[in-house]
């Protein structure tokens, strides 16, 4: 076992925009985390299975298609079903500010909009994982 933070970066559904997912995956890796990037077209079931299998501390969801309500809700409720609500869910993409409170209420830890620096996400994730342990 290592004490490295383990993060799954996931692209749910049919959205093909993976620039942000890949940039944040690399930035988290460069910050010393263990990053598993799922690739495109993942169902919520696949994302949750990957998170469990990889013993992830956190799952980052990247979505730019506008389907964020649907996918955040699914992933978070499936994690609960599997008794894995300790896995932190966060995300980013084209998500209007006014939608963020809904996603937080569902159980997301944080949502990062366009223009967020990778440093902001890294710092938040380190703190969130430390608090969780």
């Amino acid at each position: 076992m290592t004490d490295k933070i383990r993060v799954v970066i996931a692209k749910p559904g049919l959205d093909g925009h993976d620039r942000g997912a890949k940039v944040i995956a690399r930035a988290l890796r460069d910050a010393g985390m263990e990053v598993i990037y799922t690739g495109l077209r993942q169902t919520p079931e696949q994302i949750v299975a990957t998170a469990l299998q990889e013993d992830a501390d956190a799952v980052g969801i990247s979505i730019l298609s506008g389907a964020h309500h649907f996918y955040f809700e699914k992933v978070i409720s499936l994690l609960k079903e599997k008794g894995a609500e300790d896995i932190i869910v966060f995300g980013g993409g084209v998500i209007p500010d006014e939608d963020v409170p809904d996603l937080i209420a569902m159980g997301a830890g944080a949502v990062f909009g366009p223009g967020t620096s990778t440093g902001t996400t890294i710092d938040w994730l380190k703190k969130a994982v430390a608090k969780d342990e």
Partner: protein, 555 residues
């Protein structure tokens, strides 16, 4: 260069260096937005080797560096074509009519993700996505609604559809039939560019060989039946959006183009014929000078490739005609009004670069789909450039500029180097399999992000000149979940009313055509579409026959 020139230039260099010693410049090394080193000053000796007739020549003449028409915008402007579509066909039809009333001159259809990936709205993979990024089209019935009261012989329509392009083109032809318009009279474009889907955009369905067959079948079918249609829009736009540099955008797009020409040639088609209907699609990014040079370089390089590599002699098949969209990735969620100015500069670059059609992004697109108001401003931006700025009144106004000609050369040469490397790998299909263009683009995207974070690259309102602002009260366009429910209800009603025996038989014909090595798939798809077989049913048959592409995840 004369001795006098050399002496004067040396004196200038010395004076400039002295000035820099006193007051350092903003950067140690200046670069273009795409990362090319940029000199303090460009002079006659920077373009010493350029031969006007061979390398630049006159507009409308090989190698078309100055443009594809002899008089460009003095005749007619580019097509002002705003990409639009959301929710169901009813809402999108209303948006198209809104745009046409306000002077847009061509339509551009955005489809939702299930439509782009060949799923009907009631498919489990389509959940949550109906109508979000474009309009949901399940069958011909939706397409009839989408173009209701829009005469298809009077407008040209571009459709951003790739893997299932045959099906949507077939639907368009059927709608025209119902309006009493022959396919010969239709004009428009399907994107139909699968290679960049594998590289950068992600809406692939089938593996490469089957995808290339669908594409070359369309080339052949349209050559015979829809002669004014642009059969493909070979796209650098999404490659750039994924993070590439300007050079990579040109190189990978033209390398994709080479792969399509080779594939069609293998089926016995003549590049002098199908080459006329190939079109291109580029990004308009922030660096105005580099972007102008990019379009000029792409035009010249494509003409040379078609002539030298493929022996093309028909001038129309040598011309690179292109659509442009301003760079969505440069839009900021912070201070979104600033995006209007970004879009203006980007649009100006594409006009100075000789585009044939243009989409200008709306200021709110870093947040959501654009509202009617913001779409109107985006369209007005094009009209102001066209009618008020004066840049449209003389052809290729930047030609002969030392920096523009010099960068045109440099972008062309660097793109050639990439294309040679891809040739050495065995062509673009092999390069994609190896993850090569994907990795190159990701590296550029990561460097760009780092440049922003170290403030080497300034983004106004994001890493400099930030203001505390409230997003509340800003009106955004919403597509709610009820849209999906309505669309599924419509789909099920349609299925209960159509001739289901005919559907089954004609889907069997699609299967037979898919199994056959030599049959063109288009006629069978057209027949199935005509009896309201759904997109998901047709793509379902093709999925069974061809299998599905699995992404080679590169990180």
């Amino acid at each position: 260069m004369t001795d006098n020139y050399r002496d004067a230039k040396a004196a200038y260099d010395a004076a400039a260096e002295k000035a820099v010693q006193k007051n350092p410049e903003r950067y140690g090394q200046f670069t273009t937005g795409g990362g090319l080193p940029l000199k303090r000053l460009y002079c006659p000796d920077d373009i010493e080797g350029v031969n006007y007739l061979d390398d630049i020549s006159f507009p409308g003449s090989f190698p078309f560096t100055r443009g594809v028409q002899s008089n460009m915008y003095r005749g007619r402007f580019w097509t002002m074509r705003q990409y639009a579509g959301f929710a169901t066909a009813e809402e999108s039809n209303a948006r198209y009519r809104y745009l046409l009333e306000r002077g847009t001159t061509g339509l551009s259809v955005a489809f939702d993700l299930p439509t782009q990936i060949g799923y009907d709205t009631d498919h489990p993979m389509a959940q949550g996505e109906c109508g979000k990024v474009g309009v949901a089209i399940d069958s011909l019935a939706d397409m009839e609604t989408l173009f209701d009261k829009i005469p298809l012989d009077k407008v040209s329509t571009s459709m951003t559809i790739n893997a299932p392009a045959s099906v949507l083109l077939a639907m368009y032809i059927c709608v025209a039939e119902k309006q009493g318009i022959k396919s010969d009279d239709l004009s428009g474009t399907i994107q139909n560019d699968i290679l960049k889907e594998y590289i950068a955009r992600g809406t692939y369905i089938f593996p490469p060989a089957a995808s290339m067959r669908l594409i070359t079948d369309i080339f052949d079918f349209c050559g015979k039946h829809v002669p004014k249609w642009n059969t493909i829009s070979i796209s650098g736009y999404h490659i750039r959006e994924a993070g590439s540099t300007a050079v990579q955008e040109v190189a990978f797009t033209l390398a994709d183009g080479i792969a399509y020409v080779e594939a069609a040639k293998k089926t016995g088609q003549d590049p002098n014929v199908f080459g006329e209907r190939l079109s291109f699609f580029f990004n308009a990014h922030n660096d105005l000078i580099e972007e102008v040079a990019k379009y000029r370089a792409a035009r010249r390089l494509w003409a040379r490739i078609m002539k030298e590599r493929f022996g093309v002699t028909n001038p129309k098949a040598l011309m690179l005609r292109f659509h442009t969209q301003t760079a969505g990735c440069t839009l900021t969620a912070q201070q979104p009004e600033n995006n209007v100015i970004r879009v203006t500069l980007q649009a100006l670059a594409s006009v100075l670069g000789g585009t044939q059609s243009l989409h200008t992004n709306s200021m709110d697109e870093a947040l959501a789909l654009p509202t009617e108001k913001s779409v109107e401003i985006a369209l007005r931006t094009q009209q102001i450039i066209a009618y008020e700025s004066g840049v449209t009144n003389t052809v290729d106004p930047f030609a002969g500029s030392y920096v523009v000609e010099s960068l045109t050369n440099e972008i062309e040469q660097n793109a050639i180097n990439y294309i040679n490397k891809i040739d050495d790998m065995g062509g673009m299909l092999k390069a994609i399999e190896a993850g090569y263009p994907q990795k190159e683009i990701q590296d550029s995207a990561y460097s760009y992000q780092k440049a922003i974070e170290t403030e080497q690259t300034v983004v106004v309102g994001v890493n400099k000149f930030q203001t505390k602002e409230s997003a509340h009260g800003r009106k955004l366009l919403r597509v709610d979940a009820s849209v999906g429910e309505r669309q599924i209800k419509k789909l099920h009603e349609m299925k209960s009313k159509r001739d289901n025996i005919a559907v089954k038989n004609l889907l069997d014909d699609v299967r037979k055509a898919a199994k056959s090595e030599s049959e063109n798939l288009m006629p069978a798809i057209l027949n199935a579409v005509r009896v309201y077989a759904t997109e998901g049913e047709i793509c379902g048959v093709l999925r069974e026959e061809f299998g599905e592409y699995v992404e080679n995840v590169v990180l």
